[in-house]
């Protein structure tokens, strides 16, 4: 009994590998090899331009520990991850629940809330850059119009508000994605459950906690995991809105890696930062990958 099964596995395995080979070649050539190259360069002092370099071992990693901007960037990343995951997910869920109900103009509202998600990030950065302009921007103009002059700020021009201001743009941009996934997930919850709960005297709030939330559990995994991974990749919005400034106030690991590799001619050090970002991203994505694997296995 065992012999034919083994033969089948081997035969099937070879065919599978043959079919996978072209994709694997591309994968290794364009992802694995460059990644391993970068890992190697993180142990060197390569300037990113010259033909030669020296091996410095773990020197770049030791330098990271002493780099105050790395510490600041890591804290900024953490704040960014918490705020730009929690707020869009909660807001997206709320919008999905509301728009799944009997609101008038639902298609239009869905379009409105999802539109920012399809805009190019550079455009989003420009739009919010204009809105935040201290003298001519709409935000300060609105505050002044209602007598709140004291709240008008140079939003992107001071350390105390710059990171928060960019996070507002990120929230505006990202709220549509969880909303869309939750809306899709809500369609899969049987209306019969709500009808039965209503008959049994359950209120809206009870229905939400005992029917809607459990029904959205698979969606929660996807939404939260993808949002967390996305938040660790933050780069373009910060780069385009503040260029990491004022000073280094809005530097995150991604931008600091970029500055070192491409602007400071410290490619070795920059790739060491990239390695750390990647390790952290993998660590936080493991629960998501595990959940997806379980699903596929089932």
């Amino acid at each position: 009994m065992g012999v034919p099964a083994r033969r089948k596995t081997r035969h099937g395995g070879l065919v599978a590998w043959a079919f996978a080979l072209p994709a694997l070649l591309v994968y290794f050539a364009f992802l694995v090899y460059p990644a391993l190259s970068s890992l190697w360069f993180s142990f060197t002092d390569w300037d990113g331009l010259s033909a030669g370099y020296n091996v410095v071992g773990l020197g770049n990693y030791a330098d990271m520990a002493a780099d105050p901007v790395v510490r600041q960037a890591a804290v900024n990343n953490l704040i960014w991850a918490v705020v730009t995951v929690v707020v869009p997910v909660v807001a997206g869920l709320a919008l999905a629940v509301v728009l799944n109900g009997t609101v008038r103009g639902k298609p239009f509202l869905r379009l409105i809330f999802y539109t920012p998600a399809v805009l190019p990030l550079v455009s989003v950065a420009s739009i919010w850059g204009w809105l935040y302009n201290p003298q001519y921007g709409a935000i300060n103009a609105a505050l002044r119009a209602v007598g709140l002059d004291s709240l008008a700020q140079p939003w992107l021009g001071q350390d105390s508000t710059a990171l928060g201001a960019t996070m507002v743009a990120a929230i505006w941009l990202r709220v549509g994605f969880p909303m869309l996934l939750y809306l899709a997930a809500l369609q899969s919850i049987s209306p019969d459950l709500y009808e039965a709960a209503t008959v049994d005297g359950a209120g809206k709030w009870q229905q939400f906690w005992h029917i809607t939330m459990p029904g959205l559990r698979p969606a929660h995994y996807v939404v939260i995991a993808l949002s967390v991974i996305d938040s660790f990749k933050v780069f373009d919005l910060i780069y385009a809105m503040t260029y990491g400034g004022p000073g280094t106030a809005t530097q995150v690991m991604g931008t600091w890696m970029y500055f070192n590799v491409f602007q400071y001619n410290q490619a070795g050090y920059g790739t060491a930062i990239a390695v750390v970002i990647t390790v952290v991203a993998i660590a936080v994505s493991i629960p998501y990958v595990r959940s997806q694997t379980k699903e596929h296995a089932v």
Binding site: L31, N133, Q135
Partner: protein
């Protein structure tokens, strides 16, 4: 081990590898000497590629001139431009192209510490032999050539030497009761005070990327330190922890506190702010002669309604900040002779005039007085004065960013002028140590 576990483990390992690869692949490169193979640039004896950062208003002029060169020499030259990218982005693109082995044969670049890494890494060619061949030493300004010489290597050919001056709206000055541009630093402060009193923002400067705001600080440093000390500070020959630097930072803060700068200037994009003096939102800006064609005239305004003055330093010689731009040749170009010939063509007087360059360093290529009267006025007056290198070219990018971070902290009141001077000394000392 059951199938599910195996599947999960495989999936995890592949997923991990994918994430690792995706994260790292973005910043990989190659340190081998194979970079920039000769298969890229100029593979054919008659094929060239020129990379520049001309904007839409000038790139067609350049293409027309390059076409004329091609017709004369039987070459085919491609012009690629990354318009509006500035020194913050363009060198990155260039670096990536060079490392990818498809670098251009000729590229435009700023002098000082922006161009230096390409020479240091031997990505650009030593052009000394072509200087002799084409006689560039006698055709081009010696100061500009110095700006394209790195560690004794003539790594580039300058064609622009831009000086930074005060470009102002006559209407704004008139509204504030100002009859003439300032001649001393004290008068400039008086001008600022009058403009604020008239409800006009004096200087339209934005600090994103450091550009503009750093122009102001380096000017204030020239005022308080004077030419000799200023130059020594930039090379680390003198300590920054001194009264002259503290004075410069104190004045710098004063410009913001007195509202002589736009609100939140540190976070404003210079591209948005610089033309406010043309649009009637501010009185003047600190910029180069390109603003006449690209700001005033492109904005549909007449040059007669604006003026230009040298920012008064009360020092001798009266210097202004300036910078050099030029061309470099790829060390791995397949056709360096033709690449050099292209550069020689581009620095001819007739070509410079056809390109409407207002601040060329080529003898005999002064701006046309009829079409660009303010640029001509600048070239004939302040433009002839010596200049100090703008500080994002005088310092490597990393130190320039740290310098700007210190300036940003001063403007936000997070660092006192005295502490800022100490911090700058630390920055320069660390650079020296590196």
């Amino acid at each position: 081990m059951n199938d599910n576990e195996l599947s999960r483990r495989r999936f995890l390992s592949l997923g991990g590898a994918a994430a690792l690869a995706a994260g790292l692949a973005a910043c990989t490169g190659t340190g081998s000497s194979d970079t920039g193979s000769t298969g890229g640039p100029g593979t054919g004896a008659k094929t060239l590629r020129l990379f520049t950062y001309e904007d839409n208003s000038t790139v067609d002029l350049l293409k027309a001139q390059v076409k004329a060169f091609d017709q004369k020499n039987g070459t085919t030259t491609t012009v690629d431009s990354l318009p509006g990218s500035g020194a913050a982005v363009y060198p990155d693109k260039l670096r990536t192209e060079l490392l990818g082995g498809k670098g251009p044969d000729v590229w435009r670049i700023w002098g000082g510490q922006i161009g230096a890494p390409f020479v240091k890494a031997k990505q650009s060619m030593d052009l000394s032999a072509y200087y002799t061949k084409f006689g560039w030493d006698s055709k081009l300004s010696p100061a500009a050539i110095e700006g394209m010489t790195f560690g004794g290597v003539k790594g580039g050919v300058p064609f622009i030497g831009a000086g930074i001056g005060g470009w102002y709206s006559k209407a704004a000055f008139s509204k504030a009761g100002i009859s003439a541009p300032p001649k001393t630093y004290g008068e400039l402060e008086e001008v600022n005070a009058k403009l604020v009193a008239a409800g006009i923002t004096p200087a339209s400067l934005g600090g994103k990327y450091g550009w503009d705001i750093m122009r102001l600080f380096e000017y204030l440093l020239e005022v308080s330190a004077g030419p000799d000390l200023h130059d020594k500070l930039l090379t680390g020959a003198e300590s920054w922890d001194r009264p002259e630097v503290v004075t410069a930072f104190t004045n710098f803060k004063k410009w913001q506190d007195q509202k002589w700068l736009p609100e939140g200037a540190v976070g404003l994009d210079p591209a948005d702010v610089e033309n406010w003096y043309v649009q009637g939102k501010a009185a003047y800006t600190m910029t180069g002669a390109w603003t006449e064609a690209q700001g005033i005239q492109a904005g549909g305004k007449k040059s007669d309604d604006f003026g230009v003055f040298q920012l008064p330093t009360d020092q001798t010689p009266a210097r202004h900040s300036g910078f050099v731009e030029g061309y470099m040749v790829n060390a791995k170009s397949g056709n360096p002779d033709m690449a050099a010939a292209l550069i020689d063509f581009l620095v001819q007087v007739d070509t410079i005039k056809a390109l409407k360059i207002t601040n060329a360093v080529v003898t005999g290529a002064e701006p046309d007085q009829a079409t660009l009267p303010l640029s001509y006025e600048w070239a004939q007056g302040p433009g002839k004065q010596p200049f100090y290198t703008i500080q994002d070219q005088a310092l490597p990018k990393k130190q320039a960013d740290q310098y700007f971070a210190v300036q940003s902290d001063v403007l936000q009141g997070k660092t006192s002028p005295a502490d800022a001077a100490k911090k700058m000394q630390d920055v320069i000392k660390a650079w020296d140590k590196d």
